[in-house]
């Protein structure tokens, strides 16, 4: 979610969070796709070089936008899942009971794959960009929506 009027605060916070995540990953060895692929919050090159290699699930140009998905180590059970980006900004997918996915851009349709969800989001975005700070539904109550393997 984006709160306009204080962009510097949020950008700074994102950088701080990213940097602290770097030091955590140095211990855990977890993949840090978020940082590797997000130019504005990218760590210094020397730190990025220490990160384990990410696995590209898809990376393509679609309607002039870069759509990319990388495997990501899950926070809970160590399960891997795909982190999806459009032009380097995170598209936070939600998993549906029918096996598909929703994106914050299109909340009223389940798409069968992560790539299909990302392409549909690009089509809906038109000339707009995703908000810099990813949207998190379920953030203030029980549960949330961690992506499952």
């Amino acid at each position: 979610m984006r709160f306009r009027g204080e962009p510097n605060v949020w950008a700074r916070r994102a950088v701080l969070q990213s940097l602290s995540a770097v030091s955590v990953s140095a211990f855990t060895g977890a993949a840090l796709v978020r940082i590797v692929n997000t130019p504005r919050t990218a760590p210094p090159r020397s730190e990025a070089a220490d990160l384990p290699a990410r696995t590209v699930v898809f990376d393509e140009m679609y309607r002039g936008r870069r759509v990319a998905g990388y495997t990501e180590q899950g926070q809970d059970q160590g399960a891997s899942s795909t982190a999806v980006y459009i032009d380097g900004r995170r598209l936070h997918l939600m998993r549906c009971a029918d096996g598909g996915y929703l994106s914050p851009i299109d909340h009223y349709q389940s798409y069968p794959t992560e790539l299909a969800t990302a392409r549909a989001a690009v089509a809906e975005l038109g000339s707009a960009q995703l908000a810099l700070t990813p949207v998190h539904g379920g953030g203030t109550h029980e549960g949330g929506h961690d992506v499952r393997p």
Binding site: M1, R2, F3, R4, G5, M94, R95, C96, A97, D98, G99, G100, Y101, L102, P104, I105, D106, H107, Y108, Q109, S110, E124, L125, G126, S127, A128, Q129, L130, A131, L132, V135, H136, G137, G138, G139, T140, H141, E142, G143, G144, H145, D146, V147, R148
Partner: protein
């Protein structure tokens, strides 16, 4: 007790007062709290945890409660205002008066889909989008999606939902094929436009910001949900013995670790249960 009216029956003065109250909530920052709440509580049914607002039986009582909160904020600004409803089976074209410049304003323009007319056009200076899933600061719409045309739900589709005597059915999520709730919420399957029914289909028909997590940024959200709530109310009168399902025993988590809300369980963020939202007759009625 107050009355919620069909938006097409509002007088010019009533339209002006409603728009004025909404703009005042926006000016105070209250409006954007409602946008944020809707984003925060959107949990999908393949994710872990309790899902209160969508893809489950508490979709209707959660939005009834959400609407009451909004309406009460509006009535603090102007006690004569209530949330009108948009019967999209009747006012079903971009030419309908709901989209006129003195009310919800018009369609988005070609290209960036920016709404350029009416009180909620960014160019008018009163409607800056501040809590959103994208970085645009203006309201967008793409009524009827000419590039992938879709119509608003028909009377027949709504009647199909209303004729189901059961409130909901297992597995209490977007894949429930029986029950009034999902037939009204509108999760379908397949690849045709039958995927979007009733409530979901209207979000898609308006498109732009109405399609995403920040759908509350389009003030037509409230008129849409007022009508959805009125349909629920009508269904209750038609099926007087029906009760909210699942019952007071909290349903077990499904295979995904996702769980529906039972009849007497609290719904965040208010703590009110679905059963406490069942009867609205002491608070408002629909005209």
């Amino acid at each position: 007790m107050y009355v919620r009216k069909n938006q097409r029956d509002l007088t010019r003065a009533e339209r002006r007062k409603y728009v004025g109250a909404v703009l005042e909530l926006k000016r105070r920052g209250t409006y954007d709290q409602f946008v944020k709440t809707h984003i925060d509580f959107y949990t999908a049914d393949g994710d872990t945890g309790l899902r209160v607002a969508h893809m489950g039986p508490s979709f209707l009582p959660w939005h009834r409660r959400f609407l009451l909160d909004f309406e009460s904020a509006l009535r603090e600004v102007d006690p004569s205002v209530t949330v009108p409803y948009w019967d999209w089976t009747k006012d079903n074209t971009p030419a309908s008066s709901i989209w006129h410049d003195d009310f919800m304003g018009g369609n988005g323009r070609r290209g960036d889909l920016q709404v350029m007319t009416g009180p909620f056009a960014h160019v008018g200076g009163s409607w800056d989008i501040t809590v959103s899933v994208t970085d645009g600061n203006f309201l967008t719409r793409d009524l009827g999606r000419p590039s992938q045309a879709i119509g608003l739900p028909t009377k027949a589709q709504l009647a199909w939902a209303e004729s189901d005597p059961a409130y909901d059915s297992a597995p209490w999520n977007s894949t429930s094929s029986e029950g009034f709730r999902n037939k009204l919420e509108g999760w379908g399957s397949g690849s045709g436009t039958d995927r979007w029914r009733n409530h979901n289909r209207v979000h898609r028909w308006v498109s732009g910001l109405m399609l995403g997590g920040g759908s509350v940024n389009d003030p037509v959200f409230w008129l849409h949900h007022s009508f959805v709530d009125s349909v629920w109310s009508r269904w209750q009168h038609k099926h007087p013995k029906a009760v909210y399902l699942p019952d007071s025993t909290a349903p077990e988590s499904d295979a995904f670790g996702s769980r529906a809300v039972g009849r007497d369980e609290p719904m965040a963020p208010w703590g009110d249960s679905p059963s406490s939202m069942w009867d609205h007759s002491a608070i408002y009625r629909y005209a």
